[in-house]
């Protein structure tokens, strides 16, 4: 088979679906979602073909399949675009294709396909539910179909295109194109219910915040292109270029060029993967529909940031010899990653909204990966990327299922409560057994429940990577974060599923349709099994039973440069066991049986600090005070009132007056005598000539042909005379 061609085709199917949905089928819901899911399925199938080929042909993958075409001519060379498949692409394709396909299918159920249209539903608002009369003549409230159903799948198609493009591209140009299209889709889909003010604001916030990172990243890319003269991975990551980058000194702060570019590109990663200074958009992005949160803000787009960091690891770590003396970008990554991990884990503890907990947990887990890269645990970061994408997609889909069930209850009872607030739930395990089971699997994977779940293995690798590399501060910070992670996970599970129902709506919650539960089951299967590909060999008892396939596979990316840390210690293992089990136990203990009247147990134990946590450390307010207010003041007072109104307007008015004066002069001295008079003469002359020449116009085409023939002969004759 022609594997290069297949790789080219992977992103194209969703793009085609996007165009067809928006141009042709947008009025037909069934056709639209069939097209979108069909395209996702085609991409999935092609990805699976590629993955199976890659997994069975390690020696081919070591070199990488790659094919390029010339795209834009620059002065002497071409900007090339192309695709490639190597180990990193393969594992990324694996989780991307599975999650995208599953979430596409899930969205059909989530948007109530097959339900009647709502009575007062309008485009731009979430569906309010419809009132129908059942067979017994009773009025019943049921969920209604999303008004902009087809549009949603169109956007999803575009997004899937961008994500696949980013994953399979072999150069930074198409990667950046995919990156920005995903930013756009994120904006469009967060603001999918654009008539909701909060959704609109969240969309703008997400777009602008990630833009800050993207600008730095673009500068980084431009610098990289200026220095290396190419955007192809194979050129940039070749040993000569890396060596060159690592040894030349840039004009900024005495960093090497590799360090500077690495920092700039890391800024893009910070924006996209929502790390500490720019993390504020991700929690607000939960205003979008839940499949969006699952796909864009958990599984794929935010993972793309980490993917880029992993992809760029050779540049980021240029000059690193594998020891404890890490490079500047790695240091920054370790600090920011581990800080974000702890910081957002603590915020997650105090959230009441079921999706916001998961949002902060996503930020925290992405921080784990960044920190892992910072301490050089390359394989661990990639491993956690895969496992996290799968179980976080599972958790988000599960939360969507919970909300859906709660909305069903709300519609039934007509209560005025927030269906996303965890304190309105409780005891759902009886009502929604499949959702409960899968959510527990996902949650335990997130908490790192030992031995069974995928999250344990990947998180354990990160911890042992940090510990064995000698970064004990990073190790302890991450361990505490892991503990808090387990704690808030159990808190969430307990609040939502255990105990007794705290509202009427929760009592009437309902299991969701098959289109939603089947993806949950599929993903929970992977949330358990995917961890077994990467069990480290030195692990006591079961280590070595299953070969550490992931290490071998991803090892092909590093071409033997990666220095394997030899001394193993059991401390990280014990730590990860203790933190996950302890966190889970504590969370369960505290939140096992909360009733309607109870307050959050943390509220009395942490007293004032709880308020700080619930308000997310006041980061948003801080940004409001430091950046946005001054910016507004400057634009209002200085730019608008001073520059615009006084200086620019005055200047323009002056120009206008001078022009009017000049124009009057021209009119009397030039326009009337010369142009008008002359024009009249020209017209009458033309008319006279036309009247005289009219006779030659017989209107018969053949007469003209005779004339043409005669004149061409005459012309040839004259030409001949002149020539000879």
């Amino acid at each position: 088979m022609n594997y290069e061609l297949i790789t080219w085709l992977i992103p194209l199917a969703p793009l085609l679906a996007f165009f067809i949905i928006f141009l042709v089928t947008y009025k037909n819901n069934r056709l639209s979602h069939s097209l979108a899911i069909g395209s996702a399925f085609i991409s999935w199938l092609l990805s699976m073909i590629i993955i199976i080929f890659a997994v069975t042909n390690l020696e081919v993958i070591e070199k990488g399949i790659s094919s390029s075409i010339s795209w834009l001519p620059t002065a002497e060379t071409w900007l090339k675009i192309g695709v490639q498949v190597d180990a990193l692409t393969t594992i990324t394709l694996f989780f991307v294709s599975w999650t995208i396909l599953m979430i596409f299918i899930y969205s059909v159920g989530y948007h109530n396909f097959g339900q009647p249209e709502g009575d007062h539903d309008r485009p731009g608002l979430p569906p309010h539910g419809a009132e129908i009369i059942d067979q017994e003549g009773k009025h019943q409230h049921v969920p209604s179909i999303e008004p902009m159903y087809a549009r949603f799948f169109g956007f999803f198609g575009l997004f899937a295109f961008a994500m696949y493009l980013l994953v399979v591209s072999n150069n930074l140009l198409t990667l950046y194109i995919g990156w920005e299209i995903m930013g756009l889709c994120s904006y469009l889909l967060i603001g999918f219910w654009y008539a909701k003010p909060s959704a609109k604001a969240a969309a703008q916030k997400a777009f602008l915040t990630t833009r800050i990172g993207d600008v730095f990243m673009l500068i980084g890319l431009a610098a990289l292109y200026t220095i290396t003269g190419s955007l192809q991975y194979e050129v940039i990551f070749s040993e000569d270029v890396i060596h060159n980058l690592a040894t030349t000194i840039s004009p900024v702060l005495g960093l090497s060029w590799a360090g500077l570019i690495g920092l700039l590109i890391f800024m893009g990663v910070v924006g996209k993967s929502s790390q500490f200074p720019l993390h504020i958009w991700l929690p607000d992005a939960m205003e979008g529909p839940t499949p969006v949160s699952a796909m864009i803000h958990a599984a794929t787009m935010v993972s793309a940031g980490v993917y880029l960091a992993i992809r760029f690891f050779p540049v980021l770590s240029a000059g690193w010899d594998g020891g404890a003396s890490i490079t500047t970008p790695m240091l920054v990554m370790a600090v920011i990653g581990s800080f974000t991990a702890l910081f957002s884990a603590t915020i997650a503890v105090a959230q009441r909204d079921v999706k916001r907990v998961l949002a902060y947990s996503t930020i925290s887990q992405l921080g784990f990966m960044i920190a892992a890269l910072g301490v050089g645990a390359y394989v661990a970061a990639a491993f956690h990327l895969v496992t996290h994408a799968i179980f976080k997609a599972l958790l988000f889909l599960g939360s969507g299922s919970i909300i859906h069930g709660m909305e069903h209850g709300v519609l039934h009872t007509q209560e005025h409560i927030d269906p996303q607030d965890m304190y309105n739930m409780g005891g759902l395990y009886k009502k929604m057994p499949i959702t409960f089971a899968t959510f527990v699997i996902g949650g335990f994977a997130l908490a790192g429940f030992p031995f069974i779940t995928a999250g344990f293995w990947s998180k354990d690798e990160i911890l042992s990577g940090a510990f064995n590399g000698g970064f004990s501060i990073v190790f302890w910070v991450l361990a505490i974060s892991a503990f808090i992670t387990a704690f808030y996970t159990m808190r969430q599970i307990s609040l939502v599923f255990l105990g007794k129902a705290r509202t009427e709506a929760a009592k009437h919650a309902h299991e969701t349709p098959n289109t939603m539960t089947v993806p949950l089951i599929v993903l929970s299967f992977f949330a358990i099994t995917i961890g077994w590909v990467g069990i480290p060999e030195y692990f006591p008892v079961i280590g070595g039973l299953v070969p550490n396939w992931l290490e071998t596979f991803l090892g092909t990316m590093l071409h033997g440069e990666h220095v394997v840390v030899e001394h193993h210690s059991s401390i990280p293992l014990i730590t990860s066991l203790v933190v996950s089990l302890g966190g889970l136990f504590l969370g369960g203990l505290l939140y096992r049986s909360i009733t309607e009247t109870d307050k959050d147990p943390l509220e009395w134990s942490l007293s004032g600090f709880y308020k700080v946590l619930a308000n997310k450390y006041y980061v948003d307010e801080f940004y409001q005070f430091v950046f946005i207010r001054p910016a507004e003041w400057v634009s209002e007072k200085i730019v608008y009132q001073l520059f615009d109104q006084k200086i620019f307007d005055g200047f323009l008015h002056g120009i206008g007056k001078i022009s009017i004066w000049l124009g009057e002069k021209f009119r009397y001295w030039f326009d009337l005598p010369v142009i008008n008079r002359g024009g009249d003469k020209l017209a009458s002359g033309t008319r006279k000539i036309g009247t005289n020449l009219k006779v030659t116009q017989s209107g018969r085409i053949q007469d003209y042909m005779i004339l043409a023939l005669a004149f061409s002969l005459l012309g040839g004759f004259i030409f001949y005379l002149i020539l000879f």
Partner: protein, 106 residues
């Protein structure tokens, strides 16, 4: 075996006959037919020179083939449109005589 000039003379004669027909026939369909003759003559010329050039080069030279193909395509399009116009005119004015269609008379 056959000199190049034979082909060219044949083409020239055909072209002249076609030109005569295109200018002097009354019936618009006949004018179209004559134009087809001229196009055929052109194609003979193109292919004769193609053969000559390929013979000099020793391998297949494609420019001549492409030009001949374009001429045939243009001829097909021209006949389709031309006959459609003639039929449309015939329907309105009940004539196919080219010199009766003289609305553009000055």
């Amino acid at each position: 075996m056959i000199p190049l000039s034979w082909y060219l003379i044949l083409a020239a004669v055909l072209f002249s006959i076609g030109m005569f027909g295109a200018i002097s026939r009354k019936n618009a369909v006949a004018v179209l037919i004559s134009i087809e003759l001229m196009l055929n003559a052109v194609n003979i010329n193109i292919l004769a020179f193609w053969h000559y050039h390929s013979q000099l080069l020793g391998y297949t030279e494609i420019n001549g083939l492409v030009f001949a193909a374009v001429v045939i395509i243009a001829a097909a399009a021209e006949v389709a449109i031309g006959l459609a116009i003639i039929l449309a005119v015939y329907r309105v004015r009940k004539t196919v005589v080219a010199s009766d269609i003289n609305v553009l008379k000055g």
